[in-house]
């Protein structure tokens, strides 16, 4: 009987081992997409695969990665943030104006905006509101505020920010170091710490969390505040690169950030997200949308289409690999 049980459990664990392998494979898919895009770039323009090339190609991917992380926090609580793009734009405008001219006021405004994010989380939880509507409304609010702060493009990034964003470390380009840091720090915070478990659990099974005595109000506030925090960092990083601001500068980030989370293996519900995947997803999107496209020399009419086709090919290649799943 004991031998039989043992044999039995071995078989069962091998069945689950295959589930774990499938999971691992799925976890590697984002990296695979990135590798695919990098290979294509190396083939089209070998010059791009260099210290200088990576610095240029990837530095604008950093704010996208940060915005994607912000979106990922919201998605891991089963919500969606349609305002992250205009929020990044708003932060950019504040960074290029107040933060430079009156640093204390600037810091206060940015902290206050993180506070507003936290309040939104509380509002959404307490009134049981659909986050997609609330954040849709907020996307107008942030854009309106951005235009009021900066009625026409301009402003200037604070010098310290410019210095950070143009930092040139030896051997490894800054954007790669930054991406690694972002991925690893958030991975540690969300996937490894004991409160990170609670945050993800609030997306996985909120009722179970409540039954275990946790406050869902608090988890929602924390997730939204983290989204606000990373949105602020994203906006500042963006302005550090572009050097000056524009009220419409972040508008495209909302869709990019959602797509980055999904490309990185996240799911809209169930608290299934991956910080490292999200960063890789953001890098892939950034590379596929611009460098790859620029290097391909497509006729102007069809350049936009090529952008879509690249996305489709990158994702379809994943399917060939994970065909047997599901």
């Amino acid at each position: 009987m004991t031998a039989a049980t043992l044999d039995n459990s071995l078989k069962a664990s091998s069945a689950r081992g295959s589930a774990a392998r499938a999971r691992l494979l799925r976890g590697l898919l984002p990296a695979l997409s990135l590798a695919l895009v990098l290979l294509a770039i190396a083939w089209l323009n070998p010059r791009a695969i260099s210290y200088f090339g990576f610095s240029l190609m990837l530095n604008l991917a950093i704010p996208i990665a940060l915005a994607t992380i912000a979106q990922m926090f919201v998605i891991s609580g089963n919500e969606l943030d349609l305002s992250i793009g205009t929020f990044v734009g708003f932060v950019g405008c504040v960074t290029a104006t107040w933060l430079k001219d009156a640093p204390l006021v600037g810091v206060a405004i940015l902290l206050g905006s993180i506070g507003i994010y936290a309040l939104l989380g509380a509002l959404i939880h307490l009134r049981n509101l659909p986050s997609i509507v609330v954040t849709l409304g907020m996307s107008f609010v942030w854009q309106g505020l951005a235009i009021l702060v900066l009625p026409k493009p301009g402003g200037k990034a604070p010098d310290w920010l410019l210095a950070i964003m143009s930092f040139k470390p030896p051997f490894v380009p800054f954007p790669i170091i930054a991406a690694l840091l972002i991925g690893l720090i958030v991975h540690f915070g969300l996937m490894r710490t004991s409160y990170g478990v609670i945050l993800r659990g609030s997306g996985g099974n909120p009722a179970a969390l409540r039954r275990a005595g946790w406050s869902l109000l608090k988890t929602k506030i924390v997730l939204f505040a983290l989204a606000g925090l990373f949105g602020v960092i994203s906006g500042m990083a963006l302005i550090g690169i572009t050097t000056s601001a524009d009220a419409n500068i972040g508008n495209g980030y909302t869709l990019l950030a959602i797509a980055g989370v999904i490309l990185g293996g996240g799911e809209f519900v169930g608290g299934r997200v991956s910080p490292i995947g999200a960063v890789i997803g953001a890098l892939t999107l950034a590379l596929a949308a611009s460098p790859l496209l620029t290097f391909m020399h497509i006729p102007p009419d069809w350049q936009v289409a090529a952008n879509g086709a690249i996305l489709i090919i990158v994702l379809a290649a994943r399917v060939l690999i994970s065909r047997r799943e599901r």
Binding site: L56, L60, P153, N248, F295, P300
Partner: protein, 315 residues
């Protein structure tokens, strides 16, 4: 400059003005390449009027090894980081329409503020008694919108008989403009004229017709449908107005400026002022047949015309 490569960075291709701009650019540069004036003149368009996307595009053009970049920028300031990197890499940058403020770049500038002011001056001719005006503005938060608006305000200040009683945002887009006008019309007192930024005159006319309101004097923006509508109205009852816009063919002037700089000319000023293209009651009908259906009035520069235009700017 027969070995030089010039790239064109564009951030949007979805409206008739941009299409005309690309057409003009294509015609002129194809000939320049065929004549071996330059080695290549490639066009790069991004999808979405996004600043970060265009900044990334400029950076990738640097990596591609172009000698010059002609750019219609999504933002005058926010691309400065990327433009500076291009200059540092020894690349000549020439901006037009959507210009960039980075000092190392060249700017082919249209005096939008003057254009706004002229609109009111012209309006004063057609509506000497003055009256209420409706303003249709462009894309909020952009410098061109800001400049034309400032010009219009200046014009109204100089003509106290006019009063702006309503202002809507049309995003330089006929559909948005028509929708915005349609929503404000029911509550608007009678207006004698509409001052706008180009591309929205026809939509405004449709909105007035749909609401059965009397047709005001609408400043036009050189689109074929606008001029055609103007012609119809003129034939019906002698309707008078004025039309102005930046010519899409300015892209070709920017191209020639880049070529001239690459050719080693050191005397070209970084800011080049070119006139906007305007039509009056007398000359618009002559221009109309030359604009293709659904297109925009334009003017393509030859190398000689470009050199002349540059010379006009050297004091």
């Amino acid at each position: 400059t027969s070995g030089k490569k010039i790239a064109f960075s564009n951030n949007y291709a979805g409206n008739s003005w941009r299409q005309a701009m690309l057409d003009s650019y294509g015609i002129v540069t194809k000939k320049a390449v065929d004549d071996k004036v330059v080695a290549a003149a490639d066009v790069f368009t991004t999808a979405d009027k996004e600043v970060p996307t265009q900044a990334a595009q400029v950076q990738n053009l640097i990596l591609q090894g172009y000698d010059a970049i002609v750019i219609n920028a999504a933002s005058p300031d926010a691309l400065n980081g990327a433009i500076k990197q291009a200059c540092d890499a020894g690349i000549v940058v020439v901006s037009f329409d959507g210009i960039v403020t980075e000092p190392c770049a060249y700017r082919v500038v249209v005096d939008f503020k003057d254009m706004g002011k002229q609109e009111v001056e012209q309006m004063a001719k057609f509506q000497p008694k003055g009256g209420n005006l409706l303003e249709i503005r462009g894309l909020a938060g952009t410098s061109i919108d800001d400049a034309i608006h400032a010009g219009i305000l200046e014009g109204v200040a100089a003509h106290p008989e006019f009063k702006i009683v309503g202002s809507v945002t049309g995003d330089w887009d006929q559909t948005t403009a028509q929708k915005a006008v349609a929503t404000i019309l029911p509550s608007l007192p009678d207006v004698v004229g509409i001052v706008d930024q180009g591309g929205d005159g026809y939509g405004a006319a449709q909105a007035f017709a749909a609401a059965n309101k009397p047709r005001p004097t609408i400043i036009m923006g050189n689109r074929q449908d606008e001029l055609k509508w103007w012609k119809e109205q003129k034939e019906k009852d002698g309707y008078k107005t004025w039309s102005a816009s930046i010519a899409p063919g300015v892209s070709t002037l920017a191209f020639w400026v880049a070529q001239q700089v690459l050719d080693g000319r050191k005397d070209i000023p970084h800011d080049l002022l070119v006139p906007y293209l305007a039509f009056t009651q007398d000359d618009f009908e002559a221009a109309l047949p030359k604009i293709k259906e659904g297109g925009v009035a334009t003017h393509e520069y030859t190398q000689e015309e470009a050199i002349a235009a540059i010379k006009a700017n050297i004091k």
